[in-house]
Amino acid sequence: MKRLLVALALVVSACSAGQDGPTTITFWDNNGGPGRTPIYEELIKRFEAANPTIKVEYVGIPSSSVQQKYDTAIAGGSTPDVGGVTTSYLAHLVGQDALEPLDERVESGPLKGKLLPGLLETVRQTAMDGKLYAAPASGNLDVIWYRSDLFAEQKIAVPSTWDQLVDAAAKLTKPAENKYGFTIRGGAGSVFQLLAEAYSYSGVDKFYDGGKSTVADPRNAELVSKIAGIYKKSTPEADVNNSYTQMVAQFTGGTVAMMHHNLGSTGDVMKALGAQKVSAMPLPVGPSGKRTVVPNPTDGFAVFKGSKNSDAAWKFVEFLTSAESNGYWNEKVGQIPANTDVRSAEWIQKNPAVKMALGVLEDPATVLVPAPVYLPEYSSITKTDTEPLYQKVLLGQLSAQEFLNQLAAKLTTAQQEWEKRK
């Protein structure tokens, strides 16, 4: 009992001290864990040293449960001051009126003109009113990780078109030795990756054409058939159930020679295989030769409306996206820095995957085809509704075109509803 009273007294005194002492802001890391928490801890230390009147309280939240945590916090009125967000659920938070628009703050401060326009665009697109509800911090790009050592050993050229990739996959497959050329993501998260593959092949440069989804374009179906065609021939049979974990285990375990994922797996891949054995290439192109890229969700920082210290909160966001912090963070995680001043940093020259990705994103010939992640039904359409259908395609129970027709119909309906609410 005595202890409880002491604790209570401490809490009370801490609260009252807060008024004239340093301001405390809470920061939720949306991908907390042994990989990223130490990076933020270092950045917070630097921030507090530069701003002695502000204290940052770090809360690391695993990425799998972060959306649910935000929902609960919004419902209960206990949102943090600053939160890490990605564009995949940003629209959901904006829809609940939880975030402050940041356009003016960016325009009137040192970040003006310093953030990659492509990333700003993907963040703006998620909001119905086109405002900026998060300061982008880091971009990502879909890549094919490949075993450069195996390619060199068997004198196979690195593919630049999907047909070359299919050929290479066949050459690298030796079922008797349990070696396969490629791995398909057939389980959780499959459709999101498949769409990136389909558009990179088809060269279709818009996700919607006059309110109608272009997903069912016959050229997209061609790619889906090609991938389904190599299932079990140049890929392991288990691929039909693959989520990220199984896929990356097959790749780092040496069973497969190529894996489609994004820069987010840099850490896992490099730690297991090392830079001598593995490299990244952009997704191949199709017969049109056009480079059409479905961008990956952009990571950024949002200021919550419930914040009582929004100026201090913004100061922290500004610090995190400044060239120095942004460079430090992206160097550690191996992703694309949003701050354009970081581009010339030395570490980028030494990181071929990030350099390649930046090259793709900054190439004027590259066309971005953003997926409609702003649709409230997007995740349920591309996961619960259609992941089992893609498995049917892989198992030969459904045609690629029929699968894409069903997906397109759902996406079109959802888009039309969204337009109506606008």
């Binding site: 079922p175 389980g187 049979e237 159930n241 039904e377 349920s380 619960t384 089992p388």
Partner: protein, 291 residues
């Protein structure tokens, strides 16, 4: 005198309160949600829609009927095999032989393993690169890279075997306990009357075990119907929804798609089915009235 009138109510009040909190309220709230459109990601659409969810479920949702049919197949196969194998195991470890204590503890140990851990063990066993089938392929049996969980032809038996491993001990424990209460006199009398091993089993053992069998199959059928952890972690209901049971479909709708209205309607369907079968089963077996 007055105390007499309220005392009984006061005494049963805690029970009633607990039942209200843990039984009536959850069922009523699911019932209420099943009459509503309630999606977390689209709050502007939420509202009362009457029986629309049920109409959609019964007449438009093919996956509802498919998952229901799979649930039925799953329950019948699982409970049937578990009962037979459990009975066999119980009869074996009921005999006297050297090392019986060790055999008994080995037989019962899988029951102590949680569903998710069971999956963990079996995923490793089924792993196409390192599991038993890779080993078999090296000895020339089957093809290398065989993925029993990826092939629609083998995913059902593979899932059944995994759940059997965990479920059989449950029957074995219960039936063994009951076997040990059968008085030896009955067997002796039967032997004197000229009954052989088989006849003694049919006329003495089985009738004696009837209540235990009824109770354990009923309990197990309800549990197997509601089994989510093992199938979810082993196959996720796949590939291509081939192992999606009704409760798994509920989990996907409610938890993954945040569609709580429709998820509740699906739950009500499961609830009604289970209720109906529980009543029917108890009546047919005349449970508790050993005449």
């Amino acid at each position: 005198m007055r105390t007499r009138t309220w005392a009984p109510y006061a005494l049963i009040a805690p029970t009633l309160l607990l039942m209200a909190v843990f039984l009536v309220y959850p069922i009523a709230s699911v019932g209420w949600f099943s009459l509503r459109q309630h999606t977390v990601t689209q709050p502007w659409k939420n509202g009362f829609i009457g029986f629309e969810n049920f109409r959609r479920m019964l007449f438009e949702d093919q996956l509802f009927w498919q998952s229901l049919a799979f649930s039925a197949k799953w329950v019948v196969v699982e409970v049937g095999l578990q009962l037979v194998l459990g009975l066999v195991l119980a009869l074996i470890v009921n005999e006297t032989f050297v090392g019986r204590a060790l055999a008994r503890s080995l037989v019962f140990s899988p029951w102590a393993v949680s569903g998710v851990l069971t999956t963990g063990i079996w995923i490793l066993l089924y792993n196409p690169s390192t599991g038993i089938f890779q080993q078999l392929a090296q000895w020339g049996i089957g093809d290398p890279g065989t993925s029993v969980l990826g092939d629609p032809a083998t995913v059902f038996p593979a899932t059944v075997v995994t759940e059997l491993w965990r479920g059989v001990p449950f029957f074995a424990i219960l039936l063994l306990a009951d076997l040990q209460t059968i008085p030896n006199d009955l067997y002796e009398a039967a032997s004197v009357d000229g009954a052989g091993r088989w006849r003694r089993f049919i006329s003495v053992t089985l009738p004696h075990l009837r209540d235990a069998i009824v109770l354990s199959t009923l309990l197990r059928a309800v549990w197997e119907f509601n089994n989510v952890d093992l199938i979810y972690t082993l196959t996720g209901g796949g590939p291509a929804n081939q192992t999606t049971t009704l409760p798994l479909y509920v989990a996907r709708k409610a938890v993954d798609s945040h569609d709580f209205g429709y998820g509740s309607a699906l739950t009500m369907a499961g609830f009604v089915i289970l209720l109906f079968f529980s009543i029917l089963y108890l009546r047919l077996s005349k449970f508790g009235s050993r005449a």
